[in-house]
Symmetry: C2
Subunit: 617 residues, 2 copies
């Protein structure tokens, strides 16, 4: 009964290896053979609903990734002093345009690829608020940069998947994720306030943005404000309606069920409804020649061409920016964006996996995202990842398999092919309302309270991530990871050592003994046993030590010598076999070890005679 | 008997606080009041011996820190294409001169300051081979840079001491230190081969140096070769004589004792003897107008002026290099050199402390080195640290207190004041022999064998440090620290989980449970308990867990939900109080915990009735 299970599990794994391997690379093979009509029905409804959410969100996020076309006067010349908005340009190099159709270009490839390679039925890949914000700070909203960034990110992500580096994500702790999402939600949400007010030329850096937005409220356009606030109110009430909706029981009359279905349907596709209604209002004013609203404006029409991404760029003035320069420009983004993309998607798929009772394969998810970004770069997409909001919609509408994504993808393609001229009339304020409502639930104000209650120390990485994110969103997560890593290492370097006096000192290490801890152990032993008069014997209880390294062995050799010099003993008790083997290989002269503390005390009493009297007793 | 000692120790510490605090900042106060004639006698002999070793070593290490004057034709113009040694300059920007007197300028301040602030009786601060090599790669052998580097390093080190950051050194493991010293010994030792051969214009990068040295052996100067090899032979035989020397017993006749004293004395001051003899040979050839040897050449005469370091530099052509530019030029050196200086000195003082049975205070040592470097910059010194060779000589000659350093310092000052003209005739080959013999014992070929025997995995940081050091000596130690840190973290992220089948699964975590490990634990629990049919109950033995964080609590909450969904149980056993408190604060719904595995098994059997049959049995 007691033998470990590892062996038997390994045998079972080997027997079904080839089939499992294929299924693990192409998860579609595990569900497609069982596909049935009920699943198809559910997937169709879910895919449709998600598709109708995707289109307005994708258009809106392109706005986050770039900035209004009116601001762009300086053509990526970072410190161009002739520029009328010199200060703004100087403060923020990314004040250029990314046309809204790039959001849609980015929204369909993930749907198809994830269907074949994804391991979660709920996840929907596409443009997201956080990724758009991150990309904006690196790619300067230049489409060539955006598409190449997508290709490079995808390649890095796919390479990480093939090298099985998914475990790196384990080092991003819960407080860091929470701190980051809270800060990102506030940054993104507030970034849309200017669109609600119809303000232009607002810098992107958070503090400046807050300052200028409030400073210039008097310039707000009444039409945008009224429309934006109405959209917000409508979205919020539809969200509340859905939350409070009670499912009808079978004995309810049909009209109750129909009404319920109608409310549920409207609430679910609320984003589309709001955008359509706002566009209709805007259209009717425009044709009567009243320009009250800031509109999305002209967008490119039709499907994007399928072609490899450009590896160099020729500017309007004829200068060529070569691949190497672009890569240098992207710089740290090539590390931060792939990792953040993974993190966001994995966090989402884990959350929904846990909710719906399935497990995801981190490395396979990584591969799916990587491939999506690589293939996305062939259709002019910028980097994408899993979207929390749309994944939630997908899950709530009861999607059964990743096949729902195919329907979503088709809807996005149809919009691109036939609806682009209509997008001209979408008011920016309505898209802003959609974004604000999508990110608001991410700003979880209970998270810090929870951390405070459970373990106050964990507030430190949370606060570091949260605050630094307002300075530069990508540094927030890096800072948080560094702080939580440093906390881990500090804990490793300063293990708690409990000292009991049994006549001889019994020292109890409460966790492992790795090289950073040796100095601390030494210090405790010296100050309590060797540098007292008379020197005292020590029993080191190694019960909790699961491994030691050469540094520890080297220091212990030294310590044993000091004990010998002072004619006292150091006895190890409760050593695990693996640890004992290392100590024996280390040739420690005078190594004494016993199974239990009692035996150790007995040996010391036999060897050194009566215990020395101590000052403490 | 069982109560922890911490309380009583703290009380005792507080009672003698003020006196101890003063002594801990000025360790001189702890030994000066007890100073006696016997100590004075021993300190005088030791100080004299170390002084006579210091002078030739200091001259020689300035050679390592700079490079022969003949090579310098390009005045710090890094890519000056007119330079006749363009290739060499291009490959190595530090090919300029640091006059040998800078070695002596650096050698005396540490002796005086360490006497007051040091906590080890043996350590001798001054120029060392490794520090000289490191400095060479940053300061480009420009005296202004060298002196400012000393000031900045000292300030950083003193600040670290005041902030009690000495614990950072705990993260440099034994394999990394060994890998670094081996590589540095080979680099420094081989770097002197060109001086033995009398070769000029050899690049400093290790691989190029090996290639060019062998490539240009035909150009070797016979005089230098003969003199260098003779010096080497003499040094090696004197070293061996000292090693094999048997102390005479009191009943031996006086002439045996005198002979023993003579041999011991000659062997101890062998560096001075060899340099003096070589200089005499060179002098006699020079006055007879035979220039067979490469000499040290003209050096500045007299004591260095006492003045603050220059914070900007005016070049010969009138350009001014400002403080900010110099700091940017020094760049990473401002992190690497202070840390390496500390590391070298702390490692040495720990080694001799362990040999002679005393303990050093890391932060106080740090402060002493920092202050030495700051004050050193006022007398044109470059960064110094503890010297292994001279500390060994100091210890072997029986120094009793740091007062021996005062004698050493006075000898260096006397040499500067009166002997500089004589230094003109010191052949470089003899200084090269001194360095080679000083660093040879540091290349410990048994270190990798020992690592292999004790723990093979520790060879990885050793090899990384060793190999990368040949590329750039400062990256070696950084690489090694990163690799050993990554190994620590990996070990933390993938703890060993033993699974036993007692009808229910009993999972045994062999070390702590920190956030990087949660994913792994999840995976094991899912694959062995939740994703099998039927799902199984689990007892998690938390006996070895000393702390948990919010991420762990968050994941456990999720896990408990999964167990509840499947109508099985997860029971924690052997939780420590501190861990239990955190779990309770985390509000885990359905948290069950017991003291022992047996109770847990009993509870599960009562709750779930008979155990489910398992596939494994």
């Amino acid at each position: 009964m007691m033998e470990p299970l590892v062996g038997s599990l390994r045998e079972r794994a080997t027997s079904s290896c080839s089939c499992r391997t294929l299924q693990s690379w192409f998860p579609v093979l595990s569900w497609l053979p069982h596909y049935n009509l009920r699943w198809l029905q559910m997937d169709l409804v879910a895919g449709l609903t998600v598709g109708l959410t995707t289109v307005p969100q994708a258009l809106a996020y392109a706005e986050v990734a770039g900035l209004p076309v009116q601001v762009c006067m300086c053509e990526r010349e970072r410190y161009h002093s002739d520029c009328p908005i010199y200060l703004v340009c100087h403060l923020d190099p990314s004040l250029c345009v990314l046309d809204p159709q790039y959001g849609l270009y980015s929204a369909f490839m993930g749907c198809f690829i994830y269907c074949v390679f994804g391991t979660s039925k709920d996840v929907t890949l596409g443009p997201t608020a956080i990724m758009s914000l991150l990309c904006a700070s690196y790619m300067g909203s230049d489409p060539v940069y955006a598409v190449l960034l997508s290709f490079l990110c995808g390649s890095i992500q796919a390479a990480m998947a093939i090298l099985r580096l998914g475990f790196l994500l384990d080092f991003i702790s819960y407080p860091v994720i929470k701190g980051f999402t809270c800060a990102a939600a506030i940054t993104i949400g507030f970034g849309q306030v200017k669109n609600i007010f119809g303000l232009k030329n607002i810098p992107q850096q958070f503090v400046l943005q807050v300052y200028y937005t409030f400073h210039r409220i008097p310039e707000a356009r009444l039409g945008d404000v009224v429309l934006g606030l109405s959209c917000l109110a409508l979205l919020v009430s539809l969200t509340w309606m859905k939350t409070d909706l009670v499912s009808p029981s079978p004995e309810h009359p049909t009209y109750v069920k129909v009404a319920h279905g109608l409310v549920w349907g409207c609430a679910t596709i609320r984003n589309v409804l709001v955008v359509i209604m706002a566009s209709c209002v805007a259209f009717s004013f425009e044709i009567s020649n009243h320009h009250y609203f800031t509109l999305t404006g002209q967008t490119a029409k039709g499907l994007p061409p399928f072609k490899p991404p450009a590896f160099s760029e020729t500017k309007a003035n004829g200068t060529i920016i070569y691949f190497k320069e672009i890569v240098l420009d992207l710089g740290g983004g090539l590390a931060v964006i792939p990792l953040m993309g993974l993190l966001e998607s994995i966090a989402i798929s884990k959350a929904f996996g846990s909710q719906n009772g399935y497990r995801i394969d981190t490395n396979q998810e990584l591969f799916a995202i990587g491939l999506t970004n690589i293939m996305g770069s062939f259709v002019s997409a910028y980097p994408v990842t899993g979207s929390f909001g749309r994944t939630a919609v997908n899950s709530q509408t009861g999607v059964c398999t990743p096949a729902g994504g195919v329907v979503t993808g088709v809807i996005v393609l149809l919009s691109l092919a036939f609806l682009m001229p209509v997008f001209y009339y979408i008011p920016k304020a309505s898209l802003a309302a959609v974004i604000i409502c999508a990110v608001a639930p991410m700003a979880d104000w209970r998270a810090p309270l929870q951390l405070w209650r459970v373990r106050k120390l964990d507030l430190l990485p949370f606060m570091v991530t949260f605050l630094v994110s307002f300075w530069e969103v990508q540094y927030g997560i890096v800072g948080g990871v560094l702080v939580s890593g440093a906390m881990l290492l500090y804990h490793m370097a300063r293990p708690h050592i409990e000292v009991h006096d049994h006549g001889v000192l019994v020292m109890d290490l409460d966790s492992g003994l790795n090289f950073p801890a040796t100095e601390h152990l030494n210090q405790v032993i010296y100050s309590q046993a060797l540098h007292v008069s008379p020197p005292r014997c020590v029993v080191l209880n190694c019960h909790h030590i699961s491994s030691v390294d050469c540094t520890v062995v080297h220091e212990l050799k030294d310590l044993l010598k000091q004990f010998r010099l002072r004619n006292v003993s150091l006895v190890f008790s409760g050593l695990k076999n693996s640890v004992l083997e290392v100590l024996l290989a280390g040739d420690l002269p005078g190594l004494k070890y016993t199974d239990s503390i009692e035996t150790a005390l007995q040996i010391l009493s036999d060897f050194h005679g009566a215990f020395q009297p101590t000052n403490e007793d």
